[in-house]
Symmetry: C2
Subunit: 347 residues, 2 copies
C-alpha cells in the first residue's frame, strides 16, 4: 500500500464545492499521520466552459492521469445546454480512463427516512457497466430539424466489455456474506445485447459455484426495488439500466443525499473517480444546505479502492452513527455535518 495519496479534486458546479470541502475534511481527519495527502484542484464545469469553451482537453486528461484518484463534486448547470458537460466532461472522463466498473452501493440505515413503508432491509451493491451500452455516443441524426428527421442511438456491447464487468460483479458477490448476484437486463426485447449479456453471465457463473444467480428484466427490477429490495445482494447491469435503477435505489435507501459512487478502473491503468450520485443542485448552491454525506461515502469508496480498508470502515461507521442519530439532531449545515463526521473518524 502506498503511503501517499496524490488526489485530483474537481469541485465542479453548484453544491459541488461545498460537499467536496467536507469530503476532504473527513479524508484528512481519517488518514494516519504517516500518509501524505497531496491534493490538486481542477476547475472543470460550467464556469470554465463559459470562459473558454473547453470541457476536458487532452492536456487536462494528461494532468489528471498523474493522480492516484479523483474526487468529484458535481458537474452541470442550467446555463449550459443539456449534454454538453455530460458528454463533454463526465462521460468523456469515464471513457478516457476506462472506468468500466461503476459501483453504487445502497444501504438503508436504521432511522433513515425512506419513501417506502415498513422500513425494509436494503443492503445491496449495483455494479453498472461504465464504458459501453447506449452511452457510447454512437448514432446520429439525418434531416435534422425537418419533419423527416431520423435520430438513432446505438447501444454497443462487446464480449470483452461485458465479461470484465460481470467477472468483477461475481467477485464482489463472492466476497459478501449472501453471495448472490442478479443480472438485470431486458433480454426478451433487446435480444442481441441481451443474449450476449446472458450468455457471458452464465459462463462466468460456472467459475463461481458458491454464488447464487438469477436474472430479472429491468422493468420488473424497478418493482422489486420498491416491493422487496431485500431480495438484492449484488446486481450487475448495463450502463443505461444501471443509471436508471441506481437513482431509484438511492431514492428508496435514504435519498441521493447519501448515495455514493465510484467510477472504477480495477486494473489501475488510470485513476478512478469517486463522486456522489446527486447532481449540482443549483437551486440550493452556496447556502450550506447540501448534505455532504454522499461525498463523504464516496471518499470511503476511494480509500477502499486505494487499499485503505480500515480508514474506509471508519468513515462508513461514522456515517452510520451520524445517520442513525440524525432524527434527534435537528437541522445542520453542510459544514456542521462535515465537522461531525470528521470528529467521529478522528476519534
Amino acid at each position: 500500500m502506498s503511503r501517499s495519496i496524490n488526489l485530483a479534486v474537481i469541485p465542479g458546479d453548484g453544491i459541488g464545492q461545498e460537499v467536496v470541502s467536507e469530503g476532504l475534511k473527513v479524508l484528512s481527519a481519517v488518514l494516519p499521520q504517516d500518509v501524505k495527502l497531496e491534493t490538486k484542484e481542477y476547475d472543470f464545469g460550467a464556469r470554465r466552459y463559459h470562459a473558454t469553451g473547453e470541457t476536458l482537453t487532452d492536456a487536462d486528461l494528461d494532468a489528471l492521469k498523474q493522480h492516484d484518484a479523483i474526487l468529484l463534486g458535481a458537474i452541470g448547470d442550467p446555463s449550459v445546454p443539456s449534454g454538453v458537460l455530460e458528454r463533454g466532461f463526465l462521460l468523456k472522463l469515464r471513457f478516457a480512463f476506462d472506468h468500466h466498473v461503476n459501483l453504487r452501493p445502497s444501504k438503508l440505515l436504521p432511522g433513515v427516512a425512506t419513501p417506502l413503508a415498513g422500513q425494509p432491509e436494503i443492503d445491496f451493491v449495483v455494479v453498472r457497466e461504465g464504458t459501453e451500452g447506449p452511452y457510447t455516443g454512437n448514432g446520429g441524426t439525418i434531416r435534422k430539424g425537418t419533419e423527416h428527421e431520423v435520430a438513432t442511438e446505438v447501444s454497443v456491447n462487446t464480449a470483452y466489455g461485458v465479461e470484465r464487468v460481470v467477472r468483477d460483479a461475481f467477485a464482489r458477490a463472492q466476497a459478501r456474506p449472501r453471495k448472490k448476484l442478479t443480472l438485470v437486463h431486458k433480454n426478451n426485447v433487446l435480444t442481441f445485447a441481451g443474449h450476449l449479456w446472458t450468455n457471458i453471465f452464465n459462463q462466468v457463473a460456472t467459475e463461481f459455484p458458491e454464488v447464487t444467480t438469477d436474472y430479472i428484466h429491468v422493468d420488473a427490477a424497478t418493482i422489486y426495488l420498491v416491493t422487496d429490495p431485500a431480495r438484492f445482494d449484488v446486481i450487475v447491469t448495463d450502463n443505461l439500466f444501471g443509471d436508471i435503477i441506481t437513482d431509484l435505489a438511492a431514492a428508496v435507501s435514504g435519498g441521493i443525499g447519501v448515495a455514493a459512487s465510484g467510477n472504477i478502473n480495477p486494473g489501475r491503468d488510470f485513476p478512478s473517480m469517486f463522486e456522489p450520485v446527486h447532481g449540482s443542485a443549483p437551486d440550493i448552491a452556496g447556502q450550506g444546505k447540501a448534505d455532504p454525506t454522499a461525498t463523504v461515502l464516496s471518499v470511503a469508496l476511494l480509500l477502499r479502492h486505494l487499499g485503505y480498508d480500515a480508514e474506509a470502515d471508519r468513515i462508513d461507521a461514522a456515517v452510520t452513527a451520524d445517520l442513525t442519530e440524525r432524527a434527534t439532531l435537528g437541522a445542520r449545515s453542510t459544514a456542521q455535518i462535515g465537522d461531525a463526521l470528521a470528529g467521529r473518524v478522528a476519534g
Copy 2:
C-alpha cells in the same frame, strides 16, 4: 358509435385464460342490450408455438385485422426461449398494427395497498411510444459466441413517430383538469434522440398554450415516482423508458394486479389491443388466484377507445368501489372478483 363490437380475444398463456374470462364477463354485463357483442378466440402463445413453431403469421394478422379491437390476457411461458414470443408475437403485433400510443394509467385508490409510506396521491397517465426507440429490433451480432462478439441495439426515432405520440399526449393532458405534461427522456446522454424528442415536444407545446410542461431525465423520474408521484399528470416518453417507468408506476399505485394498458392506433387504421400490464404468472396459473382487475380495467380502456364512455365509466367506478372495500372482503378467487365487478356494473 357502432352498436356492435366484434372482438378478438387472445387468452394466451398462464393466467391469461382466467383473467380474460372475467374481463369478458364484465364486458357482457356492462354493455346495453342493443349492443351486439361478437367474440372470436385465438390460440396464440406458448402452446401454439410448441405445436406449430408459429407465433403470429400473416394470415393471423389478416384475421385479427377484421376485428374492432383485441383483448389480450398474457403471453409468455418459461418453456419458450426468452424473446421468441415477445418479439414474435407481442411486439410483432404492436408494430404490424401501428400501436404507437401505449397508454398506461396509474391511479392509487383509497385503501389500496402501496409500498410507499403515507398513501400519496397518485393519478397520472403514461403515454409510451409503441413503435420506435430501442424496440425496433434493429441491431445485430457479429462473432457470436466468441470472445470478440459485438452486439448492437439501435434505437430508431423519427420526427413522424415522435410527433404523433407527443401530440396525442398533449391532447390527453389538455383534456384533464390539471393540464400538465412531462417529457421523460435522457437527453443529456442520448443526445441524438434526446434533441429530437425535446425539440418536437417544445414545438407541439406552442399549439397547447393551456398545458403546463416540464422535462425530467428518466433516472430522476424514478426518484419522483417514489418520493413525489403527485407531481405527475400526463407523462410522454420513449418506448423503453415507458416500459421501465410504467412497471414502477404500477408497483407504487396498487401493483401490477390492477395496472391496465392499451396499445392504441388512434386513427383506427388497425384494431387496438388492450391488455393487463402483468405477465402470464405461470406459478399461479390455473389456481383461481390471479386478480382479474387489470384485465377488467383494460376492458374499460377498450370501451373508451370504441366510444362507449359511459360504460367505461361504470367499469372504473365498479373497480374503485371494489378496491376500496377490498381490505374488508377477505380472500376471493379470480371468478369471485369478476362476479363482484360484473354485479356492480350491471346494477
